[in-house]
Symmetry: D2
Subunit: 105 residues, 4 copies
């Protein structure tokens, strides 16, 4: 992604706010693919065929901007993610949260 950007001299557009807006655009395209599907049939329908391919493209677009954002902010995504998972493991003990989604209200 860094090479792709430099070859086009697009680094000038890649400030954090612009990249987050681009990420939002891709998340929006991902949401559109699934918005009207029945909740309990969505996974099956997206595991093959045209929707599988389209979902792959949109997930990829989200990842690409995420990685670019991490790059310009000197963030090691792998390390940050493992740290976050460890922290979530402590916040949500298996005994207390078994089969129980956190309340977000």
């Amino acid at each position: 992604m860094r090479a792709f950007t430099e070859e086009r001299d697009w680094g000038q557009f890649h400030d954090p706010k612009s990249l987050i807006l681009a990420l939002v655009g891709e998340v929006g395209e991902l949401a559109e693919l699934f918005q009207w599907l029945p909740a309990d049939a969505a996974a099956d329908r997206a595991r093959e065929g045209h929707l599988h391919e389209r979902a792959g493209e949109e997930l990829a677009d989200v990842l690409i901007y995420l990685v670019r954002l991490a790059d310009i902010l000197d963030i090691d995504l792998g390390t940050a993610s493992l740290r976050k998972l460890r922290s979530s493991s402590s916040r949500f003990p298996t005994a207390q949260f078994h089969g129980q989604a956190p309340d977000k209200t």
Copy 2:
């Protein structure tokens, strides 16, 4: 992420539409970190200190739900991303798009 989910029996909550909403929630938290920062100072302020750490946490949260979504949809994120980058390289020839962002209107 798969192990984390199974230990808590949270797979029942992880249909695609729910996971996309969770991803949207994390993208929203990322957006909030940057929304009022001056565009040209945002990267510098986020490259160290408290904002650097907070940005890392939110990027990680986005990645975690993205990976989980790819997992339940049998999507290989790495392959999909390389394919997307190759496709973008063709769509945006360096000569034609040098220093020129694609028009999204």
Copy 3:
């Protein structure tokens, strides 16, 4: 919203990209309220009690930033919305789309 902004001299922060990021933040909070609810029970649970109140607050936050964005861009939201509904009525003839959601893939 205009008065609220001027009293605090916050107009300096309200360029379009910053306001869209703020809108994204509020949409993210709205998404979090619903993300783990069963799709077919979500409306009933949100029609009263604590979730009803929380949903009202987040919908309001989205509207507030939407109205502010329209204000700084000299957009008449009411006129634009009626025009959009008329245009959608033409694009989706009732006979052809009865009980049939548009395909977004």
Copy 4:
């Protein structure tokens, strides 16, 4: 919007999670319009011409889904928004927050 929906028998698709995903899709399209514009020129460019029209369409799309969501959840958007503005006025006293954006980190 209610009439538009009923004429097409689309109420079956309008559970809260689906409508929030549709809202996210429209916010994504709005974000795309602005993502690569220079922050300090974005408002001027969007106050007339093609971008003004496109921004109006996307703001309208966001409002339309927002209103529909409020409708199915029995939320009075006007009342909720005035209540939220009053609450924000208390939380952010003009003296303390004059020229000072709230810290969201």
